[in-house]
């Protein structure tokens, strides 16, 4: 070993240096997914929020972006839009915003399309190159419907975004099944020690380390890992309680006192760190390893029940883990051990006990995966790494059921479907921002309604000309939406709650109309931050995306996520 050459300098590459602060979040895997993406922005309206979104995607290094925007730069763009300069007046907005965004990261390819959105969307396969589509309001409903149909037919995520005055909204249309394995749960929530049903190797390890515990010298006694201490005292507790473990809060507290009283106080510090750790871990570690309802729902999902040769790997692994759970009434062991007071060798040995068990569980799941593949005649094999990651995160995997967002059509009622009941209830929650979402729907309906007084089909923006007149119209639209929702839910909201819902919504409408379709840079920048964050989650398939609508109130600085 002495004359072994030290490892060569494995310094980071230029790319790793540039992206260091984000690679620490989504890793090389996530970065690769970003680099393979091509994002289309259909930039209608003032167009600030769309560009602020793209800015936060160009910086971390998406592969490609394309801006569709047929607008020509006006004076009004120059104040509010940071990606334009005075000299661009009268030229295509798409071209110059694209160029200034490209400056932010030479690794990103940017493209622009200046033909009107109607023409662009009419071309065959116009949307084919894009992995994800962003569209900003206002846009004509038939075009939004067309984008929505494309999203659902091709499983291409679609985002629809509003930024109006002090308010904003975005909705995400994800595929019907959007599973996330790498959800990045907080480290505290992932600790799974299996103290209530330890396997033989763990029992044996704990027994070795707690042999003659009472007669150990202080130095040894203070270095017994707390996992072993808890197993040791659980053994004592079982003896006194007919073999049962502590059941409820009261018993757990009693058990905690048992552990606490056993700590030695004749040490220089007057206490023992490993006992302190054991005491602190009692309430959170002595719970049965019951999977969350979200995980159980995945097991019950039709895609998990009916595996065929077309099934994506997520469902094949989910099925195998569901089988594993049926057999063992436990999920595969994640295998990580939190840091704890212990001697180095003891700790490493403990880590190995958990890792070995975790590997055994993975092997069992993998074997079942292969069996299922064989059974359904699946040609491509699931990657072993994928099985491993799934097993480690099994308790925290998340399935999002994407659904189309509301496309408001002039004169047509909005359908709330299976969400009607709970949303009608939510209407009366104090501080709920559902009325703000309804105000946005009313805003869209007003915009979609052809203006009798003007020629052509140009959309009219509430408050763009006469705020006072438009306010009354949009309020009455919003009122109809609320009544329709309550009707569809088959419920009834009594006064004074009903009047309160109406007046809250009317205030949101008034503030929306006040803006007359104007974007405030701060609200668009903030919303661009939110949307870009969600795009990153969707592309990298990491962390948990919004399901499925988010509204932001810049007056109270509050947001709310609503499933509609």
């Amino acid at each position: 070993m002495e004359n072994e050459i030290p490892p060569a300098l494995q310094g980071p590459t230029a790319k790793e240096k540039k992206y260091d602060r984000q690679l620490r979040l989504w890793g090389a895997h996530g970065q690769m997914a970003l680099e393979e993406s091509h994002i289309l922005l259909i930039n209608s309206g003032p167009g600030v929020v769309g560009l602020e979104t793209l800015k936060n995607l160009v910086l971390p290094g998406i592969g490609n972006f394309t801006i569709q925007d047929s607008a020509v730069v006006t004076q009004a763009d120059l104040g509010v839009n940071f990606f334009l300069e005075d000299k661009h007046m009268g030229q295509f907005r798409a071209e110059h915003t694209c160029n200034l965004l490209k400056e932010l990261n030479p690794d990103v390819e940017g493209h622009f399309i200046t033909e009107p959105v109607e023409l662009f969307l009419n071309k065959p396969n116009a949307l084919k190159p894009y992995t994800l589509v962003l569209v900003t309001a206002p846009i004509r409903p038939e075009l939004l419907s067309q984008l929505s149909s494309h999203a659902n037919a091709t499983n291409t995520p679609l985002f629809y975004i509003h930024s109006v005055g002090f308010y904003s909204h975005f909705a995400i249309n994800l595929p019907l099944a959007f599973p996330v394995v790498d959800t990045h749960p907080s480290p505290e929530s992932t600790t799974d020690l299996r103290l209530l049903n330890p396997w033989p190797e763990l029992v044996q390890y704990a027994a070795e380390k707690t042999k003659d515990l009472e007669s150990m010298n202080n130095e040894d006694h203070g270095h017994v890992p707390y996992v072993c201490l808890l197993l040791y005292y659980l053994g004592q507790w079982r003896k006194d309680h007919d073999g049962r473990v502590p059941q409820d809060y009261k018993e757990k507290t009693a058990f905690r006192n048992l552990v606490s009283d056993a700590a030695r106080t004749n040490t220089p510090e007057g206490s023992e760190e490993n006992y302190d750790e054991a005491v602190a871990a009692v309430l959170k570690s002595l719970n049965p390893a019951e999977p969350s309802s979200a995980v159980k729902e995945i097991f019950k999902a039709p895609e998990c029940q009916r595996i065929d040769e077309q099934s994506p790997s997520f469902w094949i692994i989910a099925r195998a883990i569901s089988n594993f759970y049926d057999k063992h009434t436990a999920l595969p062991l994640p295998g990580s051990v939190p840091d704890m007071k212990a001697r180095s060798a003891d700790y490493v040995q403990l880590q190995n006990v958990y890792k070995t068990k975790a590997r055994k569980d993975i092997a069992e799941v993998l074997e079942d995966v292969r069996r299922i593949e064989e059974e359904v005649g699946k040609k491509t094999k699931v990657d072993e790494k994928e099985v491993e990651t799934f097993c480690k995160n099994a308790a925290h995997v998340k399935l999002i059921r994407g659904r189309p967002f509301h496309v408001v059509q002039a004169g047509q009622s909005i359908k709330w479907g299976d969400r009607a009941k709970s949303l009608a209830q939510m209407l009366t929650f104090p501080g709920s921002l559902l009325p703000l979402y309804i105000a946005f729907l009313a805003y869209d309906e007003f915009t979609a309604t052809p203006n009798k007084d003007s020629l052509g089909s140009a959309s009219q923006i509430p408050g763009a000309a006469d705020a006072r007149l438009d306010v009354e119209n949009v309020i009455s639209v919003s009122r109809k939406i609320i009544d329709d929702l309550i009707n569809e839910a088959g419920t009834f909201i009594e006064d004074p709650e009903y009047s309160e819902v109406l007046s809250t919504t009317a205030d949101f409408v008034k503030e929306l109309v006040r803006a007359g379709g104007a974007e405030l840079h701060n609200i668009s920048a903030l919303t661009g931050g939110l949307v870009s964050q969600e795009v990153i989650k969707v592309i990298t398939e990491q962390y948990i995306p919004v399901d499925n609508t988010c509204v932001f109130d810049g007056i109270r600085s509050k947001s709310e996520v609503i499933r509609v």
Binding site: P7, L9, Q10, G11, P12, A14, K17, K18, Y19, D20, R21, Q22, L23, R24, L25, N56, L59, P60, Q75, A76, L78, G79, V80, N81, F82, E85, L104, N105, F166, H184, D339, M340, S344, A345, Y347, V348, G463, K510, E511, R514, A515, G517, A518, L520, H521, N522, I523, A525, L526, G529, L530, S532, Q533, E534, I544, C550, R556, S557, S559, V561
Partner: protein
């Protein structure tokens, strides 16, 4: 309520109407009242002039600062100052969007100011200062209508907070400078508004940002268990032993490589896996993950408040009795929690009462002073401490240090009474912290 604002500059207050065309979006909102605006709000020229006249200071030209400069310049602010002592590093480029590869090594404040000024066209002036906030005195801070912070250091926040609290003169409403503060870490962040002495200040909120507990030295020295323990050992112990005299430069790749290889070797000795170059860098430089999207959200939330405070076009956060703190989490869906953080009457900076500190009367003064670094409610690194009657320990000058050094080994119970008030000063802060030492037993 309305607040008097200072910070007027010699700019033509309202421009001819064709130049206002640029601000059509913003003006639509400023020319109308809304359902939530204060009845005293007068739409039209007043808010526009307030914006044009307001001189504001942005502290920090990093991830948040770059965003803030853009946000303010694109919201009608025309006289913006920015302070930052740092130079541009390649790892800034994934989010600090005003900087390019060729700017690496230049001062952040200077490059950021130039870029925003050029992009925003005539009428916007950005004045950079490349240096420390501590270089400037009260007269400097007094010229601004408000201070907006985009910092990554708690210490700098506490310094500016204590300075602004100290500046408040009840006779002079101009002396009260609203402080808007943003902070981010990965997918999380916060935006808060402080009206010094009137509402909860940074020091009142200090325990919301508890320092990470340090690993005990004996773990590093004798029983490492984690790859991080091996890296800390290389960083704190091995470097001191083997390269005494060399000043560790965490930006020098040779130094990091040396630590990495030392840590790797130690990890192999103890059968610990997981030491990587990237982790070594992360531990030694205390790197906090940072992304463009979170910075955009938090910076814009701060500047949105600045805009509302200056124009009064809608209610802002931070007035007494209203929400003043927005907490943001974005890793699991999108979540904000906006609430009122209460002012603490025993805040050592803005309160009138001394804050109780639970102490073990048997620990020595030295042990107690060491513990102040980590206690979430104190976080002081070089404390000087005295009671009303006597000096307990002085960090400087050397003569006083020598005179008071013998107290370090004395028990607290020998030096102070239970519940006695002590004054603690730290060279990092322009203030005296008042605490009351309460014996635990």
């Amino acid at each position: 309520m309305t607040l008097a604002m200072t910070g007027t500059v010699e700019l033509e207050p309202s421009q001819p109407s064709n130049a206002r065309a640029k601000w059509k979006h913003m003006d639509t909102v400023l020319d109308r009242s809304g359902p939530f605006t204060d009845p005293d709000f007068r739409p039209g020229e007043t808010p526009k002039e307030s914006l044009a006249r307001a001189k504001v200071l942005v502290i920090g030209a990093g991830g948040l600062g770059c965003e803030m400069l853009k946000d303010l310049a694109s919201s009608g602010f025309r006289d913006i100052h920015v302070i930052d002592m740092d130079t541009i590093d390649v790892s800034n480029l994934n989010r600090q969007f005003l900087f390019r590869q060729e700017d690496v090594g230049k001062f952040k404040a200077e490059v950021a100011a130039q870029r925003v000024e050029k992009r925003s066209g005539s009428g916007v002036k950005i004045t950079p200062y490349c240096g420390k906030i501590q270089d400037k005195d009260e007269d400097y801070y007094k010229q601004f209508a408000m201070i907006i912070c985009g910092l990554d250091s708690i210490e700098a926040r506490r310094w500016i907070n204590a300075t602004l609290v100290g500046m408040v003169d009840e006779e002079d409403p101009d002396s009260l400078k609203p402080l808007i503060d943003g902070g981010t870490e990965g997918f999380k962040g916060q935006a808060r508004v402080i009206f010094p002495t009137m509402t909860s200040c940074i020091e009142c909120q200090l325990d919301m940002h508890a320092p990470r507990a340090a690993v005990p030295l004996c773990t590093l020295a004798t029983i490492p268990r984690q790859p991080q323990h091996c890296i800390e050992w290389a960083h704190i112990i091995a470097w001191e032993e083997e390269r005494k005299g060399d000043i560790l430069d965490t930006d020098d790749p040779e130094h990091i490589t040396w630590l990495y290889q030392k840590a790797l070797k130690r990890a192999e000795q103890f059968n610990i896996s997981g030491v990587t170059y990237s982790m070594t860098q992360g531990v030694v430089k205390n790197i906090i993950p940072a992304i463009a999207s979170t910075n955009a959200i938090v910076a814009a939330a701060c500047c949105n408040e600045a805009f509302k405070i200056i124009t009064s076009c809608n209610p802002c956060l931070g007035l007494p009795g209203t929400d003043n703190y927005m907490m943001y989490t974005g890793d699991e869906s999108v979540y904000t929690y906006t609430f009122e953080h209460q002012k603490k009457p025993d805040c050592p900076v803005c309160g009138n009462l001394s804050r109780p500190l639970q102490v073990n009367q048997d620990s020595t003064l030295g042990e107690f002073l060491d513990s102040l670094t980590e206690r979430p409610e104190a976080q002081l690194k070089k404390p000087t401490i005295r009671t009303e009657a006597k000096s307990l320990y002085y960090q400087s000058p050397p003569s006083l240090e020598e005179q008071t050094r013998h107290n370090l080994s004395k028990k607290l119970s020998e030096l102070v009474e239970n519940g006695e008030e002590v004054a603690i000063q730290d060279p990092a802060f322009p203030t005296t912290f008042k605490y009351k030492l309460v014996f635990q037993k």
